[in-house]
Symmetry: C2
Subunit: 364 residues, 2 copies
């Protein structure tokens, strides 16, 4: 386990799996089942035909062939969804559609292609044998069979299975709410006119998008100047969420105050020197079950940190069993190259330096 | 090009790219830009410091070293977002933070680590040279530079870039509305009690989930019995959407009426024998710009058909340039194995048979 993995493991140790809530079947898509789903009835729940054709007693068809067809009297119809009341006797047949209930008395279904439909009668040229072309009750599933397990991620196939099991609503793990705060006197937001020395709080939006991509709920607290009291007010608001992320205010400049504010608010700092080029440090802490991440203001650094540290925690909260796959598959997308030297407080190319440097150490 | 690819190409030929609409920056996530995004201002918009330190005239620092530090008078501060009004003269310095505006007169920034801050004065031990540790105006981007191209898919990084460009709203391609209809007398929905011979219209929900996964908008028209008039009423409703999908009513059984209904409604049938095991055929048509897909009632067959035929069309509608990658990457997930013999009107294992069989041909 390298240092980066050690930090990730430490964060996951502090991360709870959130409780469950009831979601409408289509809102469960992409979420994690919080209960097993078992079959509430046999599937199919009665014997049904697997083909379009004629339900018969196959004993009547002994020796049936093209040269020697057996003619049966058609006594009724059994389309899917409209059961036929008649009982099939020897010498009789019921016209049946795919999915139609096999009527009483019948033990076999002759395919349409093996039968010449003459209206009142049918000439059968083949004997499918007992059970031929019939899907018997419980063939696919027996009542009580496990269909989906708690912990499975719901995709379109799972939605189809849930619907088959008549589950319009299902228990899934809750989505974490992630409060995001950008700090710095230099920041401005969309509602403010641009002015020299001010930069857009772009990583507020970039990280909100990452939260959405992960399947969690962003809570945009907005931006706060380098003022401890204002920071405390907004952070207190954020601590009602499951996760709080701050960006900016994490380096050693005179006006970088977030770390001190977190300390003053009794946030237990569990890790405070996750070194990030260009020499800014990230912080991880927790208070009353809320995880707190403090990242540099540099958008590359904060977004890479999100992928590495926040995303696995969010996935665990949402009940995902494997958090490492998702982490790795996304990491390549959020790289220094793509973010390059874009806007704002993004001062230079960011990269993760997974080591614990003393805080007073100089950056390269 | 095999037969399957030929059918896909035929569908895409009939598929329009939808127009554009304005989306809030976070709602643009996963969607396709419908316009180029250019820089509205230089980035950075003024010369700013890349480090915490002291803004100076570097001419004053000739020969500065640890043995021979040059002492300058500190005349002000320039934290990020709070420009310093002072002009730096030779022999003077302004304390500056990362992102702070480089004050008039200064042409270089001495890093904090190369300076001993004594309050009123600072002792500098290094000469960074002209432009040292300064990010000059327009260094990252010049006003008018292309930042994002029309056709790019918006991810978290693109959201961050859009925010940097102060784009709270952005033009993206519209999401197609996909009306879904399940047909068959045998179907029941969540609001009905289970009864023998009735099965849940599970692929209504399965395909709605596929629509959501693709990023489009499902419109659940519900289920309709095997009655041409009722089918016409709901299909007419569906034709107000961008795409209509029906399931069921596509085989050769007496009660399979959808194809005839579509013909009676003047839907131009462009392809009507996309053969699907177990012997049911799919239909593709169009009317007044709305695409119409008719799939078998078997959930495996309809969901596989969706992945192969509908999904690429939806991606094209939403402005995606490459529709084949997404198609291939998802196909393995929706396979017969996972859907297996689940519930309802799923009668046997489905697979695509990419060939044109005459309609009267028998199924294997």
């Amino acid at each position: 386990m390298n240092e980066l993995e050690r930090i990730q493991a430490l964060i996951l140790e502090s991360t709870p799996v959130l409780g469950r809530e009831i979601a409408y079947i289509l809102d469960s898509l992409g979420r994690v089942l919080a209960c097993d789903i078992t079959a509430v009835e046999d599937v199919p729940c009665t014997d049904i035909s697997a083909v379009d054709g004629f339900a018969v007693q196959c004993g009547a068809l002994e020796g049936a062939s093209k040269i020697n067809p057996v003619v049966l009297k058609v006594i009724g119809e059994s389309p899917a969804g409209r059961p036929c009341g008649a009982t099939v006797g020897r010498g009789e047949a019921v016209r049946i559609m795919t999915g139609g209930l096999v009527p009483d008395g019948a033990d076999s279904v002759v395919k349409k292609e093996d039968a010449e439909d003459r209206g009142e009668v049918v000439a059968c040229v083949n004997n499918p044998g007992i059970g031929g072309n019939i899907r018997v009750r419980g063939e696919a599933l027996r009542k009580g069979d496990l269909v989906l397990r708690a912990g499975e991620v719901v995709g379109a196939v799972e939605v189809c299975k849930l619907a088959s099991m008549r589950r319009a609503h299902v228990h899934v793990h809750q989505k974490p709410v992630v409060a995001i705060l950008s700090t710095g006197d230099e920041l401005s937001d969309f509602h403010e006119p641009p002015s020299p020395g001010k930069t857009m709080c772009s990583n507020l939006y970039g990280m909100a998008a990452q939260v959405l991509e992960t399947g969690a709920v962003p809570l945009l607290l907005g931006m706060v100047p380098d003022d401890p009291e204002e920071q405390k007010t907004l952070l207190a608001e954020g601590l009602r969420a499951d996760v709080v992320i701050t960006s900016g205010g994490m380096s050693r400049g005179k006006y970088d105050l977030v770390r001190e504010t977190l300390r003053a608010m009794d946030v237990e700092i569990k890790f405070r020197n996750i070194a990030l080029k260009p020499g800014k440090a990230a912080v991880f802490g927790a208070i009353n079950g809320t995880l707190v991440f403090g990242f540099p203001g540099n958008p590359s650094a904060s977004m890479i940190s999100f992928e590495q540290f926040v995303k696995p925690a969010l996935l665990k909260m949402m009940g995902r069993r494997s958090v490492s796959d998702a982490r790795e598959s996304r990491f390549s997308a959020i790289d220094s190259f793509r973010l390059d030297l874009m806007g704002c407080n993004c001062h230079s190319r960011a990269s993760l330096v997974p080591c614990r440097k003393p805080e007073s150490g100089s950056s390269p």
